[in-house]
């Protein structure tokens, strides 16, 4: 939140110079870069408050592209994702390369030593963030996901990693489903206890399972493991313990 505030204040101050209103960007760039604008329009970034300025800043000063390629453009809105990335090897290298990375280079061909947020998510300048996954078939999704990795890694490693990563997530989903089935049994016996257990299941999905996904996507071991799988295990067994006590109690004196 502080970061977001700082970003807003920063651009409010800087933006008083040769600022360009967001709508004005589109009126020119629809002519100059129709494909780029069309990609953005169908992206998840096309929403109130996330216009061109949000990542590029309002200054038309020749550094607009470089600014948006930098991780600082993303972390204000994506603090949790950025935390997962920062502790990964890619993120560590990015931190250590700070000040030595040339962000005027396009986001392709391994131009940046370690991939930044935008290098993978807006690879080769493709602004259609978040739509690829919804609109493509399975093979197309796999291709879109693997493209940035191939600038450095072998296709076989990428393929192996993503299939293991997908299974890692699926196994997490199994834990959440097993827990949900136990909650149904708890609720049948005691609605109040069931509601409490249901909250735990929601936490499993919203927090731990999300961490596994972030960990897989960002190659972040802590999120896959400590904040992911064993955390899911803990909540699953806590839910089972609730039913365990109910069953024990129902045996009577």
């Amino acid at each position: 939140m502080q970061r977001l505030l700082a970003t807003v204040v920063f651009w409010a101050v800087v933006g008083t110079g040769t600022g360009v209103a967001a709508d004005d960007c589109l009126s020119c760039h629809r002519q100059r870069d129709p494909a780029l604008v069309a990609a953005w329009e169908q992206s998840r970034h096309n929403r109130p408050g996330t216009d061109c300025h949000a990542c590029h800043g309002p200054e038309h000063d020749g550094r607009m592209a470089a600014r948006a390629r930098h991780n600082d453009a993303c972390i204000g809105c994506h603090p949790r994702e950025s935390g997962s990335y920062t502790i990964s090897k890619h993120g560590v290298i990015a931190t250590l390369e700070a000040g030595r990375t040339d962000f005027t280079q396009p986001l392709r061909d391994g131009n940046i030593r370690s991939p930044s947020c935008a290098y993978c998510h807006i690879h080769a300048g493709n602004h259609a963030v978040g739509v690829a996954s919804a609109d493509l078939d399975k093979a197309g999704r796999a291709e879109a996901r693997a493209a940035p990795c191939r600038d450095c890694h072998s296709p076989r490693l990428i393929d192996t990693w993503f299939s293991t990563g997908d299974r890692m997530v699926e196994i997490g989903q199994m834990k959440a489903r097993e827990a949900a089935a136990v909650v149904t049994a708890i609720t049948r016996r005691d609605a109040e206890a069931g509601a409490k257990a249901q909250e735990i299941v929601q936490h499993m999905t919203a927090a731990h399972l999300r961490n596994v996904r972030l960990g897989v996507g960002h190659q972040s071991p802590d999120d896959q493991w400590w904040h992911g799988h064993p955390a899911l295990d803990g909540d699953l067994l806590r839910i089972k313990s609730i039913l365990s006590d109910q069953l024990r109690l129902s045996a009577g004196p």
Partner: protein
Amino acid sequence: MRIARFHLVALLLAWPLLAWGGLPDNAQGTGEHAPHWQPDPMHEYWDPGTYHRPEAESVEGVFKGEDCLECHAEATPGIVKDWRDSRHARAEPPVLCPACHGEDHQKLSFPTPRTCGTCHPQRLAQVEEEKKYGFPSHALAMERAVDSKHFADKPKAEVASCLQCHSVATKCDSCHTRHRFDPAEARRPEACLTCHSGPPHPDDLAYAASPHGQRYQKEGAGWDWSKPLRKGNYPSPTCAYCHMRNGNHQVADKAVWKFGIREINPHTAENAIKRKRWQATCADCHPPETAGNFFRQLDDERRTAWGSLQGVERLLKALRGDGLLRPAARERPPYPMDFMARLLPRERIGFYEGQASAFYNVGAIERDYFEMWYFDNLGAYKGMAHGAPDMSRRFHERLDSAARNIALQAKRLTALDGKSPSGKNVDLTPLWMEGEYTRFNRDHN
């Protein structure tokens, strides 16, 4: 160039159709529980010395000298750029791709520490020397991972996450990231933190909270990281400055408190030698009394933490004696290799009974103790050991609160038994042995 690009695109599109190497379907596990598990395909990349199989039928040919660079500048430009910035590229003669990967594209391999040791024998010898000190050490990290019961038991795609850090034993690029392998990068604390973070080893939080780490955070970006880790070269110590003093890649010979994971006698003859080694490290900046006082504080902190843990262990063992721990040992899924545990089932309490693997196949009270021991206790240790006493105090508060919570649960379990004595006879096997994940876990080792 256009033709080369066409071939490259064709190759990439056809890639899934080509038969490539990788782990055969019948690949077996390694280590103590080898007969009981099969590796995930990713294991090949984390332990290439054991599991890598060359990529067959992709590109044929023998490539020498700079041949590789021609294609790979196009195929994988990132790693070629990285290598060009490395000392390997600047050396006379340069260390080219075949030196580490081989020349025959049908038989390429990934470098292991032994490969790196061909040119860096002293560093390899230092890493190997760790093995005589036991765990914790980098050199034994992979062994430690695959020999744990939960690793053998759990689905391998799930525990593939463990290998990312435990592969520090089987590859050098955990710290010296490829393909630049810059020592200046490995000297910085961030190089350690991808693995030295998270609940059981929050070294990242501890260092950041310590005066040493605070100075690094303020000034570190401007320090000259090309300098060796020697006295006078750095205004404040980093992880490697103390743990890899003078660049020694053997990090285990000062391990007195053994990660905080189990109770030790800090004053054995062996530990006296190790304490002297620490004292000599601290003496780069501090008088001997300062280090001595610091160790005493750490000894006291450990004694308090262990007192608290032992109290809870006694409580849990009493519940075990009264048959109040559910699932009872016979009701919980056994590890695949545990024949004895099937004959003589027993709930595992504390480090010496194998608590480290008992975090998913237990009831809530045992899991709470696992978190108390593994998370709160180790946070308290890591804080104190890195000169962050405030952090240590916060984790001691969590230890105390966990102990109180477990005591309350114990009371509740005892009361439950009073209310429903015949509940002891209820068979909870279906609840604890069944379920979508539990079944999948049992069927996938």
